[in-house]
Symmetry: C2
Subunit: 436 residues, 2 copies
């Protein structure tokens, strides 16, 4: 096997993902070198607490370790900087400096890309290098690469993702084991699938970052995390899961990006998904991204959305993409920034959705007429209604499926219905996505 050259890598941060990246590169070095005819070499590591490094990793004694990322940035022999500390400060500073100095960058940092991606891509472009970030969305699932190459000829008008493993695990346990949200969350925490402070996952922020990244590529226009409408799963009830099942649906936390007439809608919210749609089959901590292209039709990528090994697989995949045709003398972008458009973000109030509503009302004649009148006044049209046994005597529980409706009209009718003297409480309002 003829090896053309070594590719020198500097790792910034040496937590559990970075040490797995190190392990992958050292365990599979000959295998990778046979494929790309370059040898990957971790030449430098910067970790603010060098005491954390496991001394038993092979070859680590030959790597220059420092507590200062500046040592990597200053080293002219470093070809690729791999940033794995996460968060925006100080990661953004390190990455922008690396690009300024003409180094390629690989990162798994969804916060940084979703918030400050544009600036980084501009720097990269001006220096003729690139920043790749496959690991920032969907762990080990190849999705950013395919969107930028195999699927690049398609106009994509919609993508639907299950982008957060923690919430998908919780929803799977609620459905399969009949657990409450709280019990399922505790179970996820016990198993290490949810963090001690789980808010970024259960309130949809993590999925919103990933959706912003995917939408920017799919719609060729910059989307940042603040553009994304967000509803988490904290208020989901066991009854919602059960009612959904009875009607042939499963509840999933969906991340949906859509483009119509040069306007982009981006939203993360729980939704009822038809049980026989393949997205309803995504269980436990798995993730999936479902893409609608004007030539390819519908394609989906599926796999583990988190974990050190899948994430390391994507990080090293990006390193391989850069290394394969690496030329120290004549650099060039692998993909470049794809946001050449400037499309408007739609207001969620103007979005149209089908809804599932759950409410407790007084069990007496005329109640339905009053509710129906409010719906009618707001141009809200009922697709179906089911009355169920309520918990308290003298009350009834109503389930409505509402035809696709302008969101603001639905919100307004819920407000007015809640004020009716015959209505105890509107318990749930969850979107229904009858995915093609």
């Amino acid at each position: 096997m003829k090896i053309d050259q070594d590719i020198n890598i500097g790792l910034i941060g040496f937590g559990y993902i970075a040490s797995c990246v190190y392990r992958l590169i050292s365990e599979q070095n000959d295998y990778i070198a046979s494929k790309i005819r370059k040898r990957l070499k971790v030449a430098r590591i910067a970790e603010k607490d060098p005491g954390k490094l496991k001394k038993d990793l092979p070859g680590l004694s030959e790597v220059a370790v420092s507590s200062d990322a500046g040592d990597i940035l200053a080293d002219d022999d470093i070809d690729i900087v791999v940033e794995l500390i996460g968060g925006i400060v100080p990661a953004y500073d390190f990455v922008s400096k690396a690009l300024e100095r003409g180094k390629y960058v690989v990162t798994a940092n969804k916060d940084m890309i979703a918030n400050k991606g544009k600036k980084l891509f501009d720097i990269a472009e001006s220096k003729g290098v690139d920043i790749l970030f496959e690991a920032s969305v969907g762990g080990g699932i190849p999705i950013i690469g395919p969107l930028k190459s195999s699927l690049a000829s398609n106009n994509i008008n919609k993508l639907v993702g299950i982008l957060n493993g923690t919430t998908n695990y919780i929803l799977t346990r609620m459905e399969k084991d009949g657990l409450s949200f709280g019990d399922a969350l505790n179970m996820a925490q016990d198993l290490g699938y949810a963090e001690k402070d789980p808010s970024a996952d259960i309130e949809g922020y993590d999925a919103a970052c990933k959706l912003a990244i995917l939408s920017s590529i799919a719609f060729s226009s910059r989307v940042v995390v603040d553009d994304v409408y967000r509803e988490g799963i904290t208020s989901l009830k066991a009854a919602d899961i059960e009612n959904a099942r009875d009607m042939g649906y499963r509840i999933k936390l969906l991340a949906i990006g859509r483009e119509q007439d040069r306007k982009i809608t981006v939203k993360v919210h729980p939704a009822l998904v038809p049980r026989d749609h393949i997205l309803a089959s995504i269980e436990d901590t798995y993730n999936a991204v479902y893409v609608y292209g004007n030539f390819v039709g519908q394609v989906m990528s599926y796999g583990r959305g988190a974990g050190d090994m899948p994430t390391a697989s994507s990080v090293v995949g990006d390193i391989i993409k850069i290394a394969r045709n690496y030329d120290r003398q004549k650099k060039g972008t692998v993909y470049g920034c794809s946001c050449f458009e400037n499309k408007q973000i739609s207001d969620i109030d103007e979005d149209r959705s089908k809804f599932y509503l759950l409410m407790d009302v007084l069990d007496r004649p005329g109640v339905l007429a009053k509710i129906s009148r409010v719906f009618g006044d707001n141009s809200v049209s009922i697709e179906s209604m089911i009355q169920k046994q309520a918990e308290k005597e003298g009350t009834a529980r109503l389930i409505f499926i509402i035809h696709e409706v302008l969101n603001k009209n639905l919100y307004k009718s819920i407000e007015q219905i809640s004020d009716l003297d015959v209505v105890l409480k509107v318990l749930s309002a969850i979107r229904v996505e009858d995915l093609e």
Copy 2:
């Protein structure tokens, strides 16, 4: 938008896929140019029957059309040759000459790659160019690209595909509508999903070509179509589908590649798949490829496996991969050939599988003892047995699930059981794949 250069494309063949490629390029030309800063230009078309060209395609009058592919090969201004005539003769001749002349090649030709890929990759490498073939497997699904880049760091020890849309459509109709194989095939033919001579699909040859291509990449060792063990779906009975369902399975035509101890097993056969595995949810003409990597874990790609528009999406995706960093002065491979190993192909007789067996026997005491003795003598171990009402009086229908067993032992025991005077007929022997 700054356009660096035109990329001149020569299309060999102008059937329904090629004309869709032409349409995609002309409809989305500005969009693609904005992404890659090169303009794709179909400069030449060779079609042996130029009368077939639809005159209403935009811009076609400006394209040099000829009945001789040699005109494309001789034109020094053609950068990428796109071969879409299919089959080995004369496609192989055209493609090898294009590569010899330093042109890049994109093809959808599974027969050619699965049978003569190695020679083409060697020529490409010697000339510093590349031949890409994403469209040869799974239509529009990005799978070859991800295997060669995002997933390239993984040792892949297994892949399981549903690689043929025609047979998957037939099996879906057999299961959902209770049709016989013949009726489902007729329906597929009426809808244009199956050809008039459907043998390449229903006998597994099409899937075997695709499996050979995927396995060559996944296991870094050349696999040709003749290496693949093949069983089609022609002898499947409605009773098999029904029995499978009763036991919690669905029957799918699987293409399985596996590597163990540097030996490769490649096989296409119907198999019982657990109903709750995601591969069991792949319906109608959809395809999917499920990959097991040592770091990424399990990932799956899913989408339409055929049709002019999905196939054109992959063809143009490959053109984009080449065009993105195209440099007429300094060519280079995009991926290169990945078969640097030389692994042995295992004999199917030595493979181990779990089996479902269906047989009609005489309904009298001692029959099961005789059958069990044959199994025992051949080291075949029964996991479960169910007796069902048989069609003919005085007979019984037996369903066995056999523990994982050396295939040759199972084959031998079926022969001996068929010879027993109490056995009317062994009707079916189908593998069971309890996929992780």
